[in-house]
Amino acid sequence: MPVPHYIALVRDFRVEPAWPTQTAGAETSLLFLHADGVLHAASESAIGHLGDVEIVVCETSWRRRMGSAAPAGHARRGTLVEFFDRLDRAACVHCVGLGGTSATRHSPGMRLCIEIGFAPADDCQRREALEFALAAAALELDAEVRFTGPGCEHLTATGARGWQQFLDHDLLPLMADVAEWRGGPDRLPAGVKIGRFDTPASPGSAVLPADRTILRL
């Protein structure tokens, strides 16, 4: 299997990222489609038919939406475990998702920051953000999960139950920046570190530095 120099994670079908032109000159590339991003491999979307790129669709996201049908073109099914394994050997990772985009240089062993900045519209979005983080936890990666603004909704109501296992079993640290959220810290599960990202922490709150490989979901 070739070692990808550049990895793109696409989790949204509505967005057509400029990623293909940005990879001009990259030696090899991997395009990993997760959540609604897998629909690119089921349609005439240009991103799902890129010729010189290895395209992998998350088999769980694919099965949820497409059943047993095969992905179009040369896309193949894979797992989140494979994504994280390939990520560790990538030099740059570009994410396009419901919470926006991110592009970060990466080197092996660099701490990962899974950033969730969108409020879940349905149980599927809740579930797939949770599964993404669980995959990193399953591999015992050096990673953390940051909920920003409306992303804090993942930690409330029906979503709180699934994330609670991270706290009870010490899987990955959970952090929340509630500044742009209409809820308050008291609505979040005990054990979630509250603070401001990219700014010095106020006394008593968590220090949340910004020097991470960002995976913006």
Binding site: C58, E59, T60, E131, L134, G162, Q165, H169
Partner: protein, 112 residues
């Protein structure tokens, strides 16, 4: 089968994966019979894992990661040197998934 006015309870419904459609229908006897049909003899350690998986599912809405089950096994003292190999020896084909079946909870959805 009917005996002296008593009727055997109906078999609980299964989903497409062969798991109980309703976790509330689970009984130890059902798990025992299902395992026996599969050719699996359930030991104390099997039962510990089945109970742990069921409790985890009822608490968090999903089964545990393997690393969580392994750590819990060590901390509970049921297998102090527990590792992934321990789980695979209990249930050789996707241990957590198999344990889910006997625990009466749905098969894991994800590819983790």
């Amino acid at each position: 089968m009917e005996t002296a006015g008593f009727v055997d309870p109906p078999e609980p419904r299964l989903d497409n994966d062969g798991h109980l459609a309703d976790a509330a229908d689970w009984t130890r006897d059902w798990a025992e019979q299902t395992a026996r049909r599969d050719g699996v003899e359930l030991t104390d350690l099997h039962w510990w894992l089945i109970g742990f998986v069921r409790d985890h599912y009822l608490a968090y809405g999903m089964p545990p990661l393997m690393r969580v089950a392994i750590k819990a096994m060590r901390e509970a003292g049921v297998a102090e040197a527990a590792s992934s190999r321990t789980l695979y020896r209990l249930f050789p084909d996707r241990p957590i998934r198999q344990a889910c079946r006997y625990a009466g909870v749905p098969a894991p959805e994800s590819c983790i």
